[in-house]
Symmetry: C2
Subunit: 210 residues, 2 copies
């Protein structure tokens, strides 16, 4: 189980001293702080047990290089796509833009995945793509979605076992709202889920919940 603690100013100070001067003995740290070795003992114990410092007999304390941030990262490294993914909504590549818009409203999603007759991923449609098409001059009921979709291989994808934090980064970098969760088959990629900024927001909320 991962717990969070708040280091005291003195503990942060000790970390700084060891970072700069390590390996360094407890006595030497105490000298620098103008405190007794006994006063520092609990602080050194907590820093060692928390993994920030390591101690070697007759050498002294040294900094492990693990920052609090890295340790927090270790926590985030336990949240996977599969823990937060949603069910994907797919349309066939031959449906009209108008029908795709209706599907988007019926299913209340912001992204549709487009598949071929073998249910293999061939494209992605965002609400933005559909809005752009809807103010164009074309007849929405006759143009098929494969004219306006983002198509393979320009589709960012992810897998169930990916870390959610990595996918969150990808969404930000690529400035998109959702990624398909895929499974590779011999014909291509099957869409088995979706990860959206809503899923990430839920994960963020859950960090504050039981």
């Amino acid at each position: 189980m991962v717990r969070t603690i708040e280091l005291t100013k003195r503990q942060e100070h000790i970390l700084d001293i060891v970072k700069e001067n390590g390996p360094i003995t407890g006595e030497q740290i105490a000298d620098q702080l103008g405190l007794t070795r006994a006063t520092l003992r609990p602080d050194l114990a907590i820093l060692t047990m928390a993994g920030f410092l390591d101690a070697r007999p007759r050498v002294g304390y040294f900094y492990t290089g693990k920052s609090g941030v890295q340790l927090l990262t270790e926590n985030l490294q336990k949240i996977y796509v599969k823990d937060y993914q949603s069910i994907p909504v797919v349309v066939n590549e031959n449906v009209s833009v108008y029908d795709a818009i209706c599907t988007m409203f019926l299913e209340d999603v912001g992204t549709l995945f487009v598949v071929d007759q073998n249910t293999i991923l061939v494209g992605v449609l965002s609400r933005k793509d559909l809005l752009r098409a809807s103010i164009g001059k074309q007849e929405l009921t006759t143009i098929p979605v494969n004219i306006i979709m983002t198509r393979m291989p320009n589709i960012a994808m992810c897998e169930r076992e990916d870390l959610l934090i990595d996918i969150a980064k990808k969404l930000i970098e690529k400035q998109i709202d959702a990624l398909p969760v895929v499974k590779k088959s011999d014909k291509g990629f099957e869409v088995i889920g979706r990860v959206t900024k809503t899923n990430i927001t839920k994960a963020f909320v859950s960090l504050g919940d039981e």
Copy 2:
């Protein structure tokens, strides 16, 4: 600064004992575990300094009731709306739906805030609202946005000093993508920012970064 630590099995065990039997002396805990008081001293130090246990002279250790989850919550309670908000994009209530759609593409946002002549918030337009209007039968260049917008007082809002985690919860509960950040004036609410699921996703990513 908040740090994350992983408690050992023995430390979790001590927590359980104190939860059930506290207040309890170090000796008594040692007895229950079949260990010496000296062996336990560093564990008790770390649990006390981390805020899980409290010790009172001649009484013993007791459980503070702070779980790791609560302590993590304390971390999230330091992230405010103002730390992650974006610049708002506003349109006047008299502009046409067509112009609003163009603004949305030009500014590359998913939500527009609608203001009156005093730049006071009167409505919200999501990409979904605009997409719905665009497949309707009306002429987009002639209908004003105030016909299709979500209007006051049905608008969820937030303030700079709100906790981001609370706003993330609100976005999930209300199933919306963005909230205006407002400042109350004598005429109503001025829009001074926006918080979106993108901002929340960035905050989530930042938990894993320096």
